[in-house]
């Protein structure tokens, strides 16, 4: 009697788990982005309208980046994500490692619809964003003009925050030391250049605080912990609009890069993913995103649809990009491990 019950229970458990497996295979399209204010904007202008327009069921999740995360997802063979928004170095490495599907541009409006830098065999550009110098206008009497002021503790006293690690930190140090934005990576590629950057960092070592997540810099400014910080431009914009802050930023010497959409290898929802990319790649939809959060667009025709008042605050506005540096992916792929060790050696001294 008991035996039969056990057998029955076992059979029931098997059927249930089999049902679960099929559910897992026939899951909805899952789109992964960076969370926070940015993903709220995406929900409003991409996710919800797309669900209505295409009649496709989808859900969205957020992540904090890291190529290792994607590698584990794909190699684990149970990737629960389809579309992921990745940074440029993740795009490059993932493409090399075969973690992403090769994109068929004919399904998303053709290559000619996008700005040249955002066209990649493995991914298509989503936004352009900047690391800028941010500060609180309410707290600083005289506004900083650029990275040189960031390192001038006499002119502007107080602590400063930078992103922990060598990436962006060394570029900023060199620009503060007088290297022209266009020459930054040329100088950084030499041993003397690296020395020079660390020497410059030495001058304010005691006043530096290190941030790790994008949400921290506005926090550090708001609490008055630091006088200036490197920060994603969209975060400054959102803090001003949504939290009534009075933060300022300096576009001169900003570091810009772009994020791209990728389809994870072996995704069961490829068709739906392409439909989404087509929707999110259209000029009229991208222009709405820029109105909600101050990031630049990848579609060539989007800028024409954005109101001038919004346009002037975007990373892609001609005045803002004039003296900006594109973060050099190839350089960092080659040097990130060595310079991370070097950076930590310096920090521990």
């Amino acid at each position: 009697m008991l035996k039969r019950k056990i057998v029955l229970g076992f059979a029931a458990a098997l059927t249930a788990s089999a049902a679960l497996v099929t559910v897992a295979q026939a899951r909805d399209l899952t789109v992964v982005s960076w969370g926070g204010a940015y993903q709220d904007a995406q929900k409003k202008v991409y996710f919800e309208p797309f669900k209505k327009a295409a009649g496709v069921a989808m859900n969205d999740e957020s992540w904090d980046g890291g190529i290792g995360v994607l590698r584990a997802k794909v190699q684990g063979g149970a990737a629960t994500w389809d579309l992921v928004q990745v940074e440029s170095d993740e795009l490059a490495v993932g493409c090399e490692e075969g973690l992403f599907e090769k994109l068929d541009y004919s399904k998303i409006g053709g290559e000619s619809a996008y700005m040249p830098p955002s066209v990649n065999p493995c991914g298509v550009g989503a936004i352009v964003y900047d690391f800028v110098l941010g500060y609180d206008k309410d707290k600083l009497k005289d506004a900083p003009n650029g990275w040189a002021d960031f390192f001038d503790t006499k002119k502007i006293p107080g602590k400063r925050a930078l992103r922990q690690g060598p990436k962006t930190t060394l570029e900023i140090a060199l620009m503060a030391d007088g290297v022209a934005p266009k020459d930054v990576y040329k100088v950084l590629a030499t041993d003397e250049g690296v020395e020079r950057a660390f020497k410059k960092l030495d001058t304010i070592k005691g006043d530096l605080v290190w941030w790790k997540a994008g949400a921290q810099p506005p926090q550090l400014l708001a609490s008055g912990e630091v006088a200036m910080t490197s920060v994603y431009n969209g975060r400054i914009d959102t803090a001003n609009k949504k939290e009534k802050k009075n933060f300022g930023m300096v576009w001169d010497g900003a570091l810009f890069t772009l994020d791209s959409w990728v389809i994870l290898k072996g995704s069961p929802n490829k068709d739906a993913a392409y439909k989404f990319l087509d929707f999110a790649g259209k000029a009229e939809n991208q222009s709405k995103l820029s109105e909600n959060i101050a990031y630049g667009t990848s579609n060539k025709d989007a800028a024409a649809l954005i109101p001038a008042a919004v346009l002037k605050d975007l990373p892609t506005a001609p005045d803002n990009i004039k003296n900006a540096v594109e973060i050099n992916v190839a350089f960092w792929l080659e040097n990130i491990d060595r310079l991370t060790e070097r950076f930590n050696k310096w920090a521990a001294k």
Binding site: I67, G68, Q164, W210, E341
Partner: protein
């Protein structure tokens, strides 16, 4: 007992009895095993398996073999003294062309770049500029023209060292060691040798936190164990409440308290004790404070349970025999709490070793513990070999410490301080 039975019995029944006994024993063992089997299987899959996988990753080195198979074969009998012969150059050219078609060149480039910074460029530029298979006998010249690095012995030694299938490269790296061009193990260049320092830092922070927890936790545990139940329960809730609060919440609360315009600095300023805000956060002090707060319950609970078992009669007896309070405490009370001190300290120390969130949020760049680097190499740069090697070294150090601790407390019977 059985012997006594057996000697009374005759030889014919002796064997079956022994066998029966063994059989009975075996059934009992099988039953016991069957009871723990689910847990055993669970642990095997969720704990032992992944750890074994991590240890394997620390020595696994097959990327270069897969991408440059002919080169690896051609270098197998190279002595490393001069440049390899034409055969190796030709093999490399063939491999690069094949890898370019299959798009795998970057996988080898990535691995070789760990050993020789700049190898990524050497390999990708060669792949870009190598138009076709070189004429027989010209491979060396062709490759040397495309990139002078191929005329350098070190370039080839790097490929040979990364030939796999297993390597000590990552484990050496985790200890700040490298193999030089001649294959001898030497110290890593000064500006890249950081891991010994980071391990030391990790152990120092963990030890400081353990000592702080003990100093703060001991009196609290004593109070809890000696108060009447009603009041001690109330206090116990105060101990457990933070224990049940999320780690992240508590860490962020410390940021609010300790930052330069935070509660502590503002209060001190208002009281006129300081003019300039003290630096209480983003440094070692902040890390120790926050981690001590987070780990304190792990010290208090084992101490409390060991103190609860000590009868107050002992201390009264010591006093009646003329021991001054300090002597009575040191000779009678303290030795009986040693198991609690040991358990609490080991628990706090080992938990502290793996801490990540707290030092990441309240520490400066010089206070990042080993977990930060393991996370960095796992998720961000995807250098899983090095991440695993760092994990393996940490695991080994922790196991050794636990063994030493086991030796230390072994035979520490609670004897009330009397020699046994």
């Amino acid at each position: 007992m059985t012997d006594a039975l057996l000697t009374g019995a005759d030889a014919s029944t002796e064997v079956p009895l022994k066998r029966r006994l063994r059989r009975a024993e075996r059934t009992r063992q099988v039953k016991a095993l069957a009871l723990v089997l689910p847990l055993l299987v669970f642990l095997l899959f969720t704990f032992a398996g992944p750890i074994a996988g991590m240890l394997w990753r620390a020595v696994d080195d097959r990327e270069v073999r897969q991408v440059l198979p002919q080169t690896v074969a051609a270098l197998a009998d190279w002595d490393g003294k001069d440049l390899p012969d034409e055969k190796a150059f030709a093999a490399l050219a063939g491999d690069i062309l094949a890898a370019r078609t299959s798009g795998t060149i970057a996988i080898a480039a990535k691995r070789l770049n760990y050993a020789l910074n700049g190898f990524r460029t050497i390999l990708t530029s060669t792949a870009r500029n190598l138009k076709a298979v070189p004429e027989p006998g010209t491979a060396r010249e062709t490759l040397g023209k495309i990139n002078p690095a191929w005329r350098d012995r070190a370039t080839w030694a790097t490929i040979k060292d990364a030939s796999g299938p297993v390597t000590g490269f990552y484990l050496l790296g985790a200890l700040d060691l490298v193999r030089n061009v001649d294959g001898a193990v030497v110290a890593a260049p000064a500006d890249q040798a950081i891991y010994r320092n980071v391990f030391t830092r990790t152990f120092i922070i963990s030890l400081s936190v353990t000592v702080l927890c003990l100093i703060l936790g001991f009196p609290v545990a004593y109070l809890l164990a000696t108060l009447p139940p009603g009041r001690s329960n109330l206090l116990m809730i105060f101990v457990l409440l933070p224990f049940w609060t999320s780690l992240l919440v508590r860490t962020c609360a410390w940021i609010v308290l300790l930052q330069s315009k935070g509660v502590v600095n503002d209060s001190l300023h208002w009281l006129g004790i300081i003019d300039e805000p003290l630096r209480l956060i983003y440094n070692r002090f902040g890390v120790c404070v926050a981690m001590t707060h987070v780990l304190l319950p792990f010290m208090i609970l084992p101490l409390y349970s060991s103190m609860k078992a000590i009868s107050p009669a002992y201390m009264r007896a010591a006093a009646s025999l003329g021991a001054p309070p300090v002597t009575a405490f040191l000779r009678i009370y303290l030795p009986q709490t040693l198991p609690g001190i040991g358990a609490g300290s080991l628990l706090v120390f080992i938990l502290a070793l793996g801490y990540y969130i707290t030092p990441a949020l309240v520490g400066g760049a010089a206070d990042q513990m080993i977990s930060y680097f393991i996370a960095l190499y796992t998720t961000e740069t995807a250098n899983w070999g090095l991440a695993s090697a760092l994990g393996a070294v940490l695991l080994l150090a922790t196991v050794l410490l636990a063994l030493v601790y086991g030796k230390l407390v072994q035979g520490q019977q609670v004897t009330g301080g009397m020699k046994n």
